[in-house]
């Protein structure tokens, strides 16, 4: 049941477009040969998805670290809940808030008040990045938090007692022990980003184009289903390859331990 739809996609990708759009059964590789026509979309996605993942990671890690290790236990639960709450509102509504902030009457006007000119923020890759980081931050914070929380405090205390500076404790103990969480979080965010459509649509103003946007256009505007199916199949393939490579690398990094599994 789960696989059938994916098989149909692969099947369709070998078909031809009907005269008025849609799908006509055939066997041709033209759709794959034609993939170059969507190269920009793939390029954007392959560049921006990892970039977004890394940004999320950079912002999320210190937060998760604070929550797991530094925060007052009494406040911890509340602080954690506060991280998820935004995640419970529709991504649509949250992105829409950024339209108001990044639009001409929001942040740019504020910047202009301080005399730094009036930059255009909305409908740029920057806006899309902000939306992405904002949308997916909680997904990154949680796995890292869980991993950090599991670390035995005595290890950290021992390290401090033995006179190693905090940064060293962090690099040699905390970081390696939290890698599993980092891997899980990055994986989750990366997967979601590869198929992203809404955030570029809403915050990119049709100017920042992801594979997801190309797919929606192919199915709902030009109605070239076979080509759309080919693009979708390629996207899944690219993802599988990247994810496999990534998991391998993580496994090697963590010394072949098994707990760096996906979930």
């Amino acid at each position: 049941m789960l696989v059938l739809p994916l098989l149909v996609v692969v099947l369709f990708s070998f078909g031809e477009r009907g005269a008025a759009g849609g799908y006509v059964p055939a066997f041709t590789l033209d759709n794959y040969a034609n993939l170059a026509a969507r190269w920009t979309a793939f390029q954007n996605t392959i560049l921006l998805a990892p970039l977004g993942t890394v940004l999320c990671l950079l912002i999320a890690y210190p937060l998760a670290y604070y929550l797991a290790i530094k925060a007052d236990p009494r406040w911890r639960t509340i602080l954690l809940i506060l991280v998820i709450v935004p995640f419970w509102t529709s991504i649509l509504i949250r992105s829409y808030a950024w339209i108001q902030i990044l639009g001409g009457n929001g942040l740019p006007r504020l910047i202009a008040e301080f005399g730094f000119g009036r930059p255009r923020l909305i409908n740029t890759p920057f806006a899309v990045m902000v939306g992405i980081v904002y949308g997916y931050l909680p997904l990154m914070v949680f796995p890292i938090y869980v991993a950090l929380e599991k670390i035995d405090r005595r290890l950290l205390e021992a390290s401090a007692d033995l006179g190693s500076p905090p940064w060293r404790t962090f690099v040699q103990i905390t970081l390696p022990l939290s890698l599993a969480g980092v891997a899980t979080g990055s994986m989750l965010v990366f997967i979601l980003l590869m198929g992203e459509f809404l955030i570029p649509q809403i915050l990119g103003g049709g100017k920042v184009f992801f594979v997801g946007n190309a797919l929606v256009d192919l199915f709902l505007q030009s109605r070239n289903w076979p080509f759309g199916a080919a693009v979708a199949a390629t996207l899944v393939m690219v993802m599988l390859v990247i994810v496999t490579l990534y998991l391998r690398a993580m496994k090697r990094l963590s010394g072949g331990r098994d707990d760096v599994a996906m979930m």
Binding site: A37, N123, G205, G206, K207, Q221
Partner: protein, 385 residues
Amino acid sequence: MTDRRATATEKHFLQKLESYRKGSLSRRDFLAQTGLGLATAVMAGTMPGLARRAWAQGSIGDRVVIATWPNYHAPESLEAFRAATGATVDVNVFGSNEEMLAKLQAGGASWDVVVATNYTISTYVDQAIIEELDLSRIPNFDPSAFEARFADPGVINGKTYAIPRNIGTTGYCVNTSELDSATPTTWKEFWDLSRDQLSGRTMVHDYQLTAIGNALKYYGYSFNSVDPKELADAERLLIETKPHLFAINSDYQPSMRSGDAAMSMCWTGDAVQLQRDIPEIAYVLGKEGGELWSDFFTIPASAPHRDAAYALINFLLAPEMAAQEARFHGYPTGDSRVDALLPDEMRSSPILYPAADILNALEFGAAITLTNPVRAEIMARFKSA
């Protein structure tokens, strides 16, 4: 709270309707008991056809689904329809005719009324997506009230498949307070301004027909061209302009209002709505030409609530109701009976009723553009560039 009360009335209404049909209740009692008497009396004057017909047909069901465009129907009209017939109108809005066709083609979907633009009708007929209309069920439609050019696309091989609802043009709106020069008058100026003084402030429709069509106009080609060389020129212009655009989006009202955008491709009704609040916004129809269109009511072959579909179309075509709709959406209806009911400021508006010489330079979109794969690919390349 209001919601619950509404459903209760509905149930009550349906019960009474049932007794009325079985003959256990006279028409007068029925109307009095359901409280519809007053409503009907008020409406009967303006739409004699409807009030009686709906009852004569018996129950039309409690739901009708319409596929249409954003900001296109006054909520009061739909509410009035529900009050008169008991059927709730469910509105689905679309971004383009292409999207509508895609979803209709996917099949399985259950729209009862589809509001489609002239250039799509023949494709819908070829694909057997829509069916021939039974004009006897739409007495409020009077073909003689329409100019032939607006009503003709709905008639194919002598059969009427679609009924004109309203007409409009595609031009561009520009905030004149942001311009150094005089208000532009051509498409050439639109594309030049967007790469020059209004760089970063211009919006182009996310819609192949108008984005490509109006780029073709820069060179004076036909709006509907599918000639490879001419399309290549248009594509070059689009891609050259792309870095200067604020956005590629058919929903330009919010950005024009907030001042983020200063110029945008624009449809008649949006221009009227924008100008109502921001008088500095001017509406320009390029001298070179551009698009003139009319939108039609159609009924898909797969419509699950056909009776309600006919009732809704007929209801909205009643001149009084159509005039109320026109005041809301700001498009002319093309129906001379409705024009007579519009307020003076609408009737004298050059946005709604452009001068004949400008109007005659405009072209109707051609069916070929809807399904032409080259145009679709150009649009995709423009967006991903």
